[in-house]
């Protein structure tokens, strides 16, 4: 168990998602020997430099060859051993998509795939490096678990949980250094069980990844305007915590927010579930619309996609007004 403290939460926030993943894996690897860690020439970008130096037998570099990365991991995982593999999200979920489908889907081998720099954080590097469709693609693969932690603490808790999870999973890392802090201390984290951060009677905001922090800000802004919003951290977007959604059905509006395409991710998962429910509230699905945004700074990208506190708050208010909710 990695000890969670306020100071560590701050440290992980400063380091960002990728380095926090590397730190978590290193700390666990020092304590237990039942897993391997691989990357595709992105040891440093995965925060794994120390692990490679300290525990060289546990780290395997596949070179810039993501398809082979997944395949070799499958061979290593064949005896049930857990293998963590990482690369930038489009390269590992799209370049190697069919290897992921065969080995992690069809054969259900015990591989934990980590998509680095997902969402828009790769900013000036352009759309080649953004994770827009990765959540949708991974969610569509039968038998795949998809997790998108909200902050550093939740990344660490996810990595810990994945070490004892004997099924394939995709860990989607959003946000960079200066990651917003959602959790300052330890949390009761269970794969597939959403965390309610705030209760509210008017609107239910369900978010994943970096957008959980924004959801909290939006709920506060709405509160100042007399709108009472709940906030849920839906860290596991597959399998979806449908019991948690059932509890939100008495609201006037359901809002989903994700730093991902609105086609196929969290918003779609919630909509797919709610489609079969009569007399349900309408859903406002916020995320990256069906586009490649114009590359620029992270903030510039969030503004383009309407994923800032102000834009989200306005979108919620507009939806409520337009529908007389």
């Amino acid at each position: 168990m990695i000890q969670i403290t306020k100071a560590k939460s701050k440290l992980w926030s400063r380091l960002g998602a990728r380095a926090t993943y590397g730190q978590a894996v290193l700390e666990i690897a020092r304590q237990r020997k039942d897993f391997y860690v691989m990357s595709a020439d992105l040891c440093q970008s995965s925060g794994l430099t120390r692990l490679r130096e300290e525990l060289p037998d546990r780290f395997i570099n596949a070179g810039i060859a993501e398809q082979n990365l997944v395949g070799v991991a499958a061979g290593l995982a064949k005896d049930g051993t857990n293998v963590f593999i990482s690369s930038f999200s489009p390269f590992i979920t799209m370049r190697a998509c069919e290897q992921v489908r065969m080995n992690m889907g069809y054969m259900q081998l015990n591989i934990k795939t980590v998509g680095l720099g997902s969402g828009l954080i790769m900013a000036q590097l352009g759309n080649s490096h953004y994770g827009i469709e990765d959540a949708s693609i991974m969610r569509a693969i039968p038998g795949m678990t998809v997790i998108e932690p909200a902050d550093g603490v939740e990344i660490v808790k996810t990595v810990e949980a994945l070490c004892d999870y004997d099924k394939p999973a995709y860990l989607r890392l959003t946000g960079g250094p200066g990651l917003p802090v959602v959790y300052e201390g330890d949390i009761d984290f269970q794969i597939g069980k959403a965390i309610t951060l705030r209760d509210g009677k008017d609107v239910a905001i369900i978010a994943a990844g970096t957008m959980v922090y924004y959801a909290k800000l939006v709920a506060e802004a709405l509160s100042a305007k007399g709108i009472d919003a709940s906030v849920t951290d839906m860290h596991t977007i597959k399998p979806l915590d449908t019991a948690c959604i059932d509890e939100q059905l008495d609201k006037k509006l359901i809002v989903t927010i994700e730093e991902a395409s609105v086609i196929g991710g969290l918003g779609s998962a919630v909509a797919e579930y709610m489609a079969g429910i009569p007399n349900k509230p309408p859903q406002l699905t916020l995320g990256i619309k069906d586009c490649f945004p114009h590359a620029g700074s992270y903030q510039y990208l969030l503004e383009q996609c309407g994923l800032t506190e102000t834009a989200i708050t306005n979108a919620v208010e507009t939806m409520l007004l337009r529908n007389n909710l």
Partner: protein
């Protein structure tokens, strides 16, 4: 066909069903469409019951047109998508190295499959990881789905040289000649090097109307054709 007969009949230890995971040799059929050579080998050497062959392509059967992973009936991986099995075999061989497992890893791929870039990614890593417990057999029948391999990619006669250039211990043989196949598998690994055996074969070997005829890449026999083919094969024994 012959390569699987030799592997299961004389090279691998998998006919002993009680053997543990860490000692059981691993066989990956990367060219999954070659499964009609694999299932009879599993039956012939007692890994599956011969009656199971009659379930081939029946709904609910474990025996479909590509292998589906089920170690208890000798199927170590699911394949059907070309260019993937070699990577898994590299991982299996690497796991054996790291954990001190005694098994050997064997993988069969096709010459057409060598068009896939992932074959070369996997091959580069097999050499880099110094996998001298890994053997790749290339079933080099000079043909693929759209016809003669040389007409499709003009470098298709260079695979042996490409493996050698990467640093493989490279052996080229007649892929139908049982003693040659056996000798090639038995030739000890050069320490620190993976081995590749390029077996030159004839597509549809032994049935005159099928040999080098791509109409039989995927086709069904009439009853008369079946009897003619069987007579020719029996005559060749």
């Amino acid at each position: 066909m012959e390569v699987m007969a030799v592997l299961y009949g004389a090279v691998m230890n998998t006919t002993n069903k009680s053997i543990s995971y860490d000692a059981r040799d691993k066989f990956i059929l990367s060219k999954g469409h070659g499964v009609l050579g694999l299932y009879p080998a599993l039956a012939e050497f007692g890994i599956i019951d011969e009656s199971m062959l009659d379930t081939f392509l029946c709904d609910g059967s474990d025996l479909i047109a590509h292998p589906v992973m089920k170690p208890e009936i000798g199927l170590e991986s699911s394949s059907g998508s070309l260019g993937q099995g070699i990577s898994m075999a590299v991982g299996l061989a690497l796991a054996a190295k790291k954990k001190g497992y005694s098994y050997q890893t064997y993988v069969v791929c096709g010459n057409g499959e060598c068009n896939e870039g992932s074959v070369w990614e996997a091959s580069m890593s097999a050499v880099s990881y110094e996998l001298d417990n890994f053997t790749l057999f290339v079933d080099n029948n000079h043909m693929q789905s759209d016809g003669k391999s040389m007409d499709i990619l003009s470098v298709s006669d260079k695979y042996t040289g490409m493996f050698r250039a990467l640093g493989f211990q490279t052996i080229e043989i007649d892929g139908h000649n049982i003693p040659e196949i056996y000798d090639a598998f038995c030739e000890p690994h050069v320490s620190g090097f993976p081995k590749v055996i390029v077996g030159n074969t004839v597509k549809g070997k032994g049935v005159s109307f099928m040999e080098n005829n791509n109409d039989w890449h995927h086709n069904r026999l009439t009853k008369n054709q079946y009897e003619d083919a069987l007579a020719e094969l029996r005559g060749g024994l």
